[in-house]
């Protein structure tokens, strides 16, 4: 995975609340067996509206998306994170995210930034004219107008993002601990092994 350090550029001032993963990428696009190419299907229904945000030349290729509360709610489809990444988005800023979506985003190097609604409202204004800067190392979002919003992020996720670390590789380094747990389980709860059918 590519390391994520700073993200700077235009942002889509989207702002909608409860954006579910069916809106981000409709089910018809889930039939792929590969991770790439889903950007074409991102926000498909919204893009049918003339003059929509995502097809406007003004915002094309923006690396940041600003959304409302509970972004990414609904299904567990990781295709939502893949679709956003495929359309060039590197970070989403919102007052809250669904648990599953933020996990999926993290695992694909897509940064989710949680900021209070007032900060999000202000960034929505700025995004209409100017670019936004996200500094992961210092956990701060800034604008050309001296706005400065700090955000919290899980230290482990931050570490992995900054260094582009693969989570499976990290876990496999704990193989001995997993094997020890399995041995204990076989002794304490032998009935847990599923019966063969």
């Amino acid at each position: 995975m590519n390391p994520v350090k700073t993200i700077e550029g235009k942002a889509y001032p989207f702002g909608l609340k409860n954006v579910d993963t069916d809106v981000i990428i409709p089910a018809a696009w889930l039939k792929t067996i590969s991770r790439s190419g889903l950007g074409k299907g991102a926000f498909e229904a919204l893009r049918k509206e003339p003059g929509n945000l995502f097809d406007s030349a003004e915002y094309a290729g923006s690396p940041i998306l600003i959304a409302g509360d509970n972004f990414g709610c609904g299904s567990s489809r990781e295709h939502a994170a893949w679709a956003l990444a495929d359309m060039g988005i590197q970070a989403v800023i919102a007052p809250s995210f669904s648990d599953i979506f933020s996990g999926n985003a993290f695992k694909n190097g897509l940064l989710t930034v949680v900021l209070p609604q007032e900060a999000v409202d202000r960034l929505m204004e700025v995004a209409k004219t100017d670019s936004i800067h996200i500094d992961l190392e210092n956990q701060v979002v800034t604008t050309p107008f001296q706005d400065r919003f700090t955000f919290e992020i899980d230290p482990f996720r931050k570490h992995c993002l900054l260094h582009g670390l693969d989570e499976i590789g990290l876990t496999l380094a704990s193989s001995d601990a997993i094997a020890a747990y399995e041995t204990r389980l076989n002794t304490e709860k032998p009935w847990l092994a599923p019966q063969m059918i």
Binding site: A27, R35, S75, S76, Y181
Partner: protein, 476 residues
Amino acid sequence: MNQPRTLYQKIWDAHVVSARDDGTCLIFIDRHLVHEVTSPQAFEGLRAAGRTVRRPDLTLAVPDHNLPTTARRDASGARIPIADPESAQQLEALEANAPAFGIRYIGDADREQGIVHVVGPEQGFSLPGTTIVCGDSHTACHGGLGALAFGIGTSEVEHVLATQTLQLKQSKSMEVRVEGEVGPGVTAKDIVLHITGVLGAAGGTGYVIEYTGSAIRALSIEGRLTVSNMAIEHGARAGLCAPDEKTFAYLKGRPMAPKGADWDAAVAYWQTLKTDPGATYDKVVVIDAADIAPSVTWGTSPEDVVPITGTVPDPASFADPSKQEAAAKSLAYMGLEPGTPLREVEVQNIFIGSCTNSRIEDLRAAAAVLKGRKKAANIRWGIVVPGSGLVKSQAEAEGLDRIFIDAGLEWREPGCSACLGMNPDKVPAGERCASTSNRNFVGRQGPGARTHLVSPAMAAAAAVTGKLTDVRELIA
């Protein structure tokens, strides 16, 4: 004396492999269900990295999302080709990946095939006190048995396949206590729709919910699976119902459940799986069962719930400006006017099925309303999709299929079907569907489709009258 613990805490503690200083734990996963939509890229990732599946014995693969619900094999047993090449490709990928990685596979023509969340409990693969994951957000369903079950994304599917663990931080705990007795015509689905209306679509975000109270204890296991199934619709990653004698009776003798002395040891352990007196939850919500009516959604979020006796709300009636805007958009999409009684809303389609409501009890409830009745003339399309081949056989043995067919509905093969329309079962644009599924999102049942979430009995009532209907009027 040990600190009193919640059920969630007990299951969590029993699965910690190792813990980091920041609170992230490596959690052992007891059961992994795999389906064809969220797994191809995970298997591809394993191949690319030269990794294997650590515990194929704890993994079960079942295709469900893409399968047509019409006949799958011809008279000679050969597969009838799936029209959509991409659906066929996903099915073929799972059929190849499961044996290649040594994973047990229940295929499209096996009588045990069905929706993963119906198959897991039915086979006794899902057990109380276990951690269960699947690349599907409705995995919380298995919490109805007292399992800590939750949906994961494809990278996590790959992580579990490779390591049989996940790196997780513990969620907060919430108790949703439903006390009292529900009235006639009120089912598990109405309880969970009501809970979703009360909590809101994000009310459970960051929490694992334990559903407690006399109304939950009174539910059958099928009913508890229905309630837990929709935990994600109020934002909770997992929902739990403490296991009890009903749970043990449900599981006893299931093919993959423990047998003999193992069974006794398992039950002894499962009996300890309850929240200790004095344990505290981070949040408690109490609901009076008497407040719950047969319920229906009017909008495009599962939180948009009203009693069937209610009316379509005026967007201006919401305090939150962004909810006002969302409600106005929902009503435009749904083609509804504020103030319209829900009971006057005509529907053209009926879908009885999905991991929420496709178990035998659901089909019995729908059949009880439909028996001796016909669908209304304006019902263009109505399908009943059993949750598994075993549910289908059971329903046929009880003659339920005849009741549905005589009423003018179609009796189909098991799968996810019109819940999300990945297979050919879709609701046409602009038409309404009374649906027993779990999501009324924009375009969920097909582009432009308008979904009203209801219980199986309510869907059956809508089939009879051709509009959203208070089932109590038909069962009185």
